[in-house]
Symmetry: C2
């Protein structure tokens, strides 16, 4: 039952030899969510072993090229590989027009349906939900409209104690109800659910925050997340530049992670002006010890 993040691109606007522009895949129990899609994302997906047509949901934080220029090639390849399934794309408004202009001349007919979902709310909004996961989008603060994403595994069913099934001769319909949290009610006694079951493993969560200054408007949503990816485009020595370009420093990201009491902080979106990431790690670790440096190809698993 995997909950695993793979970083495909950890650089900022200008890709470098080691860092592609932003893209990530989150695997939640074999559902594959693509988060941002910088140029060459399809190459990174192939390199790290993901089948592109297992992706049904693409979340684009904002419409700067280093976060979506990979969509053109990815969607073309999905079509060439015979995709027929609907593809859902979530982004601030404007992407549909751009994609149609670029892609429509490529195909005699649209090879598979694309469903666009516009992100425009000022408050956190559920943009996707199924049996196992809920995804919220929440607005950030940058030079253009940007959204963060919060992936929350749903609470799992209670685990019923097998010896109790024998002891109370519990029927199948009763088992289903007990797993949902019900007590066992018999003529002369009520056995509380807590006696019959073991609590499931706690749900896991991941918050993706990029291209923003620190904003505390929606921290309640992502507080205590197991994983937080936060951009750290600059070192704190360049905080004036960070402010001016509406980006975050490693120190600011680490202070935010400490305040949110997250399990682990992953830094990324490093400016190509820095030759090494060692100072980013040092700066963040001084404040929040569970900080790591995002690198292309890095996998981070949240254990059960």
């Amino acid at each position: 039952m995997r909950f695993e993040l793979t970083i495909l691109g950890s650089g900022s606007a200008l890709p470098t030899t080691n860092r592609n522009t932003t893209a990530q895949v989150l695997n939640v129990l074999e559902r594959f969510f693509l988060i941002d899609c910088g140029e060459a994302t399809q190459l990174q997906l192939r390199k790290y072993g993901f089948a592109i047509n297992r992706i049904n949901h693409i979340l684009i934080s904002h419409l700067h090229g280093d976060h979506f220029f990979g969509l053109f090639g990815l969607i073309s390849s999905m079509a060439l590989l015979g995709r027929t399934n609907v593809l859902h794309i979530y982004s601030p408004p404007g992407l549909e027009g751009i994609l149609n202009t670029v892609l429509n001349p490529q195909f005699e007919k649209t090879p598979f349906p694309i469903q666009f979902h516009s992100l425009a709310d000022d408050d956190p909004t559920v943009i996707f939900e199924d049996k196992v996961v809920t995804i919220h989008a929440f607005p950030l603060r940058h030079s253009v409209s940007v959204y963060g994403f919060f992936f929350q595994e749903k609470k799992r069913l209670q685990n019923i104690r097998s010896e109790k099934i024998t002891q109370y001769k519990i029927s199948i319909p009763e088992i289903l109800a007990i797993k949902e949290g019900a007590d066992l009610v018999r003529e002369n006694e009520t056995v509380p659910n807590s006696v019959l079951t073991i609590d499931p493993l706690p749900p896991r969560s991941y918050a993706f925050v990029t291209d923003t200054i620190i904003t505390r408007k929606h921290t309640e949503l992502i507080k205590n997340a197991d994983l937080l990816y936060h951009e750290a485009t600059f070192l704190h020595a360049d905080k004036a530049l960070a402010r001016k370009t509406m980006h975050t420093t490693a120190k600011q990201a680490a202070e935010f992670a400490r305040e949110l009491m997250v399990g682990k902080l992953i830094l990324g979106h490093f400016s190509s002006r820095y030759k090494s990431d060692a100072l980013f790690l040092e700066e963040a670790n001084n404040i929040f010890q569970n900080s790591i440096i995002g690198t292309d190809g890095l996998k981070i698993t949240v254990p059960e």
Copy 2:
């Protein structure tokens, strides 16, 4: 005085682990011409050591995505790196509108001028010319409008024999005229140019032909080229498929190279359906021995 081709992408529409989509750089005496620009071309340019802002001319054969989807990221990076020089882009009509739709929202103001040159002629046309090189575009035959490109180094000046300068006391203005081919005219004698000079090295040439069935309409132009890059999307066993999709087989490309009497044939644009390129080489070499397989990163120098 280099005349050197570097293959950046040797695959066809669907990139693979080893083959990016089409892109090449031709270095003609330190002028860098980019030919096609598939996704991730900027990454390949960096990988193989080209400074992206030394490129002033980009030639796009046609508007299928695997030949131009890398322009968005490349142009963005040129801007981020502070380019101010004009960039010339040559392509069949339609590219300007697509680029404007994608790029205009990315920049507060256009960071450098882009000059679009539309390819629409039925006959070979000079699209660029300077002191050292002439470039022709010529139409090919595919499902959309496609152009090939022919790069021809200009004839160099005659090399004057130094001993003749002494012997005839030749003046500087006379030297310049003799290098251009003039005879030396004195009162009582005329010394023919052939006595005074050595012929320069012959001019070098390169023909780029992709996404087409074999067309013999403009073979006079590219006959005897030192290098011919020709697509070979399919093996000849799949010639019906090649015909249907308006592509070429390795055998057809080699027959064409033999007929044109080119110096060397480079095959590329291989369909991702083939697991190995060994059969392509075998099929071509049976017909034209100077055939080689294009691979990403391959450099081919035409010696002086």
